[in-house]
Symmetry: none
Subunit: 209 residues, 4 copies
DNA sequence: ACTTAACCGAGACGGTACGTCGTGTCTTGCC
DNA sequence: GGCAAGACACGACGTACCGTCTCGGTTAAGT
């Protein structure tokens, strides 16, 4: 991703110098990402061809390759540029309520059209370190940072022991969702999420000792 | 899979009539499966080509296609033919011990060379229903059946409530392992497994009400 | 050109062993050559694309590349497989008559549709040694061998001195044709050929001393 | 070629008004032509790309396209700007001496590095009428005009018949050179030129009748 | 000195063809 | 009739140039 630092600065004065040459077409960039999501949702990862993306976005193939090294990076970017920034954690005053509410949002996305995209990224990531890293950096960590804050609120309220292993706890909450999402041996229902949340948070509380 | 029912009779009575023509080469079949596993472990799912498999196994491409309809079926078969499946549950008298011991075996395999094959199947399964089904049928369910028995022993010992949701419990135990295995955001260590097991089983016990 | 030695021998007995594998499709080969000539005559060298040839011949692109390393070799082969083997020398009893008759045939071809193909080969040959060599080996030398015979008949009839430099003579006869053909500064007419022939043969006779 | 009529007036009268704006960079123009010749001599016609020329001349691609409509025009211009054209005819008092001397100069150039450029033009000219026309207009005719004068001197000296067909004669002299130059079936040596010249001029003299 | 406008370099753009690779099918002769 | 070998039609790959198009910056002539 060699996107050049844009000409933006906080003070607005000593703005970053832009190199020579025709600047990148923002329109093309967005069109490509849009077409990627569209075709990915329609046909899945393996049926997605760069050729189709370029054609759908009315763009030269080279323009795609100029900015994304491979299909995986393209998908990761498209995914990141997407509505990803939803999925925030509420603050209801109850840890279980906060968590289960957000988790229900997660499974809503996983079971929707967008779920195919997540599955495609996780699948592609198994043979592409960059892709799975992109998933972690752009999807997992941002959300987890919010989750930490939510958990800390729970600790301060006494809903969790102070020394709780937050990563263990969060993996225990989300792991089963990912597992059912990927292996598809059982449904991802809100009821499942509720019971899962209750089970794990109960364990975490008991776990304090 | 149009493999013909083999002449599987020891008693010599209901021996399946075998038509004319050269019989299927068992040597070729095994060579293909062996090469599949070898290349899959070496290069991952997307880099595995039927062409390479055939070449590595010193076999004609048509011989591969004659017996397996696609890459996914081939991988599924290769995986099933693998020794991976000996992941049995012990009976130590303690539920947590039984579970954590087996789970440590699982992560041992997941973090070994063979893990790549599992990852390849789960990855390929995201765009191939048959493949993920094969994983469930040949890997997940057999093990889960044993797990049910283990859990039932725990129930009878009073380590778990009688009405425990076994699938929820097992997903809570294994989900985090799959999540870490696939997303690789944290290590799969025996210590993690132990704490995970303790957390979830504590929650399950408390969950009884 | 890795065409394998065909299974042909004179005695018909110890015929050449043909290797394993599906034999080359003669139909595809001829279709490709035919399409090449067709498109070459229609659009010229630089507008000829392998892609179009393959499409026109209803053949995969790879089949073209399997047997011809580049456009030049393809054209050379197509040209050689063509009616090239016309252009024979008559034996009228008069050297000038023999030569001018054949030369008139040459300019007839050069000024016809097929001329574009010859021009394409000579043009391509300027940056491709193999191509110009192919032209020499498959077009120039076979004809020149016949020309030598014709000249020798002329010598035996006393129409030429015994020690005539045959290559100098033939280049003097055909060079002007090639020059006019390629530079197009003057027309290639039968009258031109006749006068050229008369001029050069007169010079050759006088040249004896 | 939309080059604007330059301010080509020495007398200072009909001086073309030059509007405002930066004038064309003569340095860029010459650099482009120089790079064209350099790359053409190095790699031949088909390997010459405008992109390479621009890069080699440290010039923007658009600057090339602004002044030359296509590769052929560029090559033609580069060739014309070259010093190749000083191939004048001497006046030794002997026709054969005048001709053979100039012809030896020609083959010297044809067999030198610059020959590749001539070959490239003749090659490119086979698929581009403008290019071959440029060759005729800028190379062939200027020289031929001098040749006519040389021949006329020969006629006045009685070395040639009065009614000699000068174009036939000149094509007979130069055609073999072009033929050997382009087909490369025999060497272009001074000895060859001498014998060729003797043969053809002998024929022309005899041809008078 | 200031405006105007065509030039310049750089380089991204929509395209097209390239030559390669893998797919799944087929056609041989041998076993 | 299975087998190895390998050619086949097909289609996507990622690259290279094409000729065009913005950009910011430069360079005069005309105010």
């Amino acid at each position: 991703m060699r996107r050049r630092a844009a000409a933006e600065s906080k003070d607005g004065k000593r703005r970053r110098k832009r190199g020579p040459g025709r600047p990148r077409s923002e329109q093309a960039r967005q069109g490509i990402l849009r077409s990627t999501l569209k075709l990915l949702g329609a046909n899945g990862f393996s049926d997605l061809t760069i050729e189709d993306v370029a054609a759908d976005a009315r763009v030269g193939k080279a323009t795609v390759y100029r900015w994304w090294p491979n299909k995986a990076a393209l998908i990761a970017d498209a995914f990141a540029s997407d509505t990803t920034r939803q999925l925030h954690f509420p603050d209801t005053g109850s840890l279980r309520s906060d968590m289960s509410q957000q988790m229900r949002q997660v499974i809503k996305i996983f079971t929707s059209r967008r779920g195919r995209i997540v599955a495609a990224i996780l699948a592609g990531g198994q043979s592409d370190k960059e892709l799975i890293k992109a998933f972690r950096d752009r999807f997992l960590w941002p959300r987890r940072r919010e989750a930490y804050a939510t958990l800390r609120r729970g600790i301060s309220r006494g809903e969790l022991p102070k020394n709780v292993d937050m990563d263990l706890l969060l993996d225990s909450l989300y792991g089963p969702i990912y597992m059912r999402f990927l292996i598809r041996h059982a449904d991802l229902t809100p009821a499942f999420v509720n019971r899962l949340c209750r089970l794990v948070l109960a364990g975490a509380w008991l776990h304090r000792k």
